[in-house]
Amino acid sequence: MTQTPRRGPVHVTGELLATKKVGAYHHLTLVAPGVADGFRPGNFVAISVGESRLARRSFWIHRVKPVGGYGAALELVVEATGPGATWLTRLAPGARLEVTGPLGRPFALPKEPVSCLLVGDGYAAAPLFPLAERLRERDCPVTLLVAGSDEAHLLSALEARRSARAVTVVTADGSVGRKGTVADAVDEVLARAGAEVVYAAGPVPTLHAVAAAAEAHGAWSQTALERPLTCATGLCQGCVVPVVGEDGVSRTVRACHDGPVLRGDRVRWADLGADLGQVR
């Protein structure tokens, strides 16, 4: 696995260009000068959501696209779960936003063209689409497993099909694709794809299932964790994740700074209980 050094993050005042509702999600397009420059799939941005809410809210960078006159714009996929995210989805175009990014350790890319499985659950599939493109550039065969609770919570896999050899869709209610969860499907898809690396983003149970399946098949796994992040920049130590180090010793790392992408075989999934965090 290689990882080229990237430029550091910046904290800037950005501007919301557009908000588009797609199913259960809002796709936000925003310009945040400098944030797109060092982007790697798996990076995220932190955004301030109103004057009285001091914790930042984090969102995967879904896409970086050129916008006339603005340089590059970012596309985020936001689910209006709580008041903070809802505040964001209700902003009118032109609104100014405090944006920090690109943040976090991105997905590590394979040196060789190996077969990769990408597993995305809900809006968290967002970072996997740009990842699929990078993998294709490296001639890695890509298989996609996209999941959601129902059709509305499924990130459209249309474009990703261009980068992917095969796409499997599962929904909890069976409204599209197979009925079931990632945990139900991952073993079979992984075996069929013969994947040597599995990338996953989604809720903790999804990641845990993926990491276990990868381990069972002797594959590497790269899991992108969502934990409640206060600063999102490594300053506050509010986001620790229990891991086992290369040396076999248990310790904690910061999800925002040492993650959010962590090796699935290193995370002590069982110790990431509901009591350890509120986000999903």
């Binding site: 550091g8 809410r53 600063c231 490594g234 300053l235 506050c236 509010g238």
Partner: protein, 282 residues
């Protein structure tokens, strides 16, 4: 230029303890040398894993936090964090916390001999001390005894800052006694003792608490005219900083603001420059 406890600072704005990571994370957004100083998270003799999750919760215009003084302990700090900090061209203030007077003294002895340490900040105001097992400073004389122990074991030339609770009833007396006990300056103050939503002991910081900190700073400055006071609590703008300086503080510290905007300290330093031009000597 700001003079604090015999040190010359590049600006009257410091990074508050526990809010600047190891320094490297903050340096990604701008050189630490632009700031008045960097106060480390509170270092303890032995490593501390910190408290259970969730450690931080959002409250209106504030954060409540129970990080539990997570830190690698003195040795790893000296080996890995301090040397890097010492090279950043900023004043490195090491915050210390102990569970006994002996621990405080030991920390002072070791840090006082370590190159790159500009000053020691003695944390006398942990909002969750009863939970974390840190020496619980309830009365001014508790604070003074810690400061005396630190002062005694510190080489001359390494100033001591005593970080006090913003408890309006005792803050003046606390400041007086720690200054008598050898502190070179006082920091007023820490997060307010508060509760997490689930009831655990925690500290409240951020703009919510500014008027309380300002009251305490104003009282200490008014009652102890000779004392050097560093103000902290809820500062997010140059205007906020100016109200503390106007109340008599020589400098301010920024904590929660950095968690919300990692460029806040540099921005405030620049804004303070813009409006109050430095007097030119000619």
């Amino acid at each position: 230029m700001t003079e604090l406890a015999g040190l010359t600072l590049a600006a009257p704005v410091l990074v508050a303890s526990g809010c600047g990571g190891t320094g490297r994370e903050l340096a990604a957004y701008g050189p630490l040398a632009d700031l008045g100083g960097f106060v480390t998270r509170s270092i303890t003799l032995n490593p501390r894993p910190g408290g259970p999750l969730p450690r931080i919760a959002e409250t209106p215009s504030g954060l409540v936090h129970a990080v539990g003084l997570q830190n690698p302990g003195l040795e790893p700090f000296l080996a890995t964090e301090l040397p890097w900090l010492a090279q950043q061209g900023t004043r490195v203030v090491v915050s210390i916390a102990g569970s006994s007077l002996g621990e405080y003294a030991e920390l002072a002895r070791r840090l006082g001999r370590s190159p790159g340490v500009s000053a020691i900040e003695v944390n006398l105001s942990s909002p969750d001390a009863p939970t974390t097992g840190v020496f619980d400073v309830r009365e001014p004389f508790h604070a003074a005894s810690v400061v005396a122990a630190v002062h005694r074991d510190l080489p001359r030339g390494v100033p001591v800052l005593a970080k006090l609770r913003t408890d309006v009833v005792r803050v003046v007396e606390s400041a007086r006694t720690v200054l008598d006990a050898g502190a070179d300056a006082v920091v007023v103050g820490n997060a307010l003792p508060a509760a997490m939503p689930d009831g655990r002991q925690a500290g409240l910081s951020g703009p919510a608490i500014l008027p309380v900190a300002l009251r305490c700073v104003a009282e200490v400055c008014a009652e102890l005219p000779g004392a050097q006071v560093v103000g902290a609590g809820g500062i997010t703008s140059a205007d906020d900083a100016r109200s503390f300086l106007a109340a008599g503080a020589v400098a301010v510290q920024l904590g929660t603001a950095l968690l919300h905007d990692p460029t806040a300290a540099a921005r405030i330093v620049a804004d303070l420059h813009d409006v109050v031009p430095e007097p030119t000597i000619d």
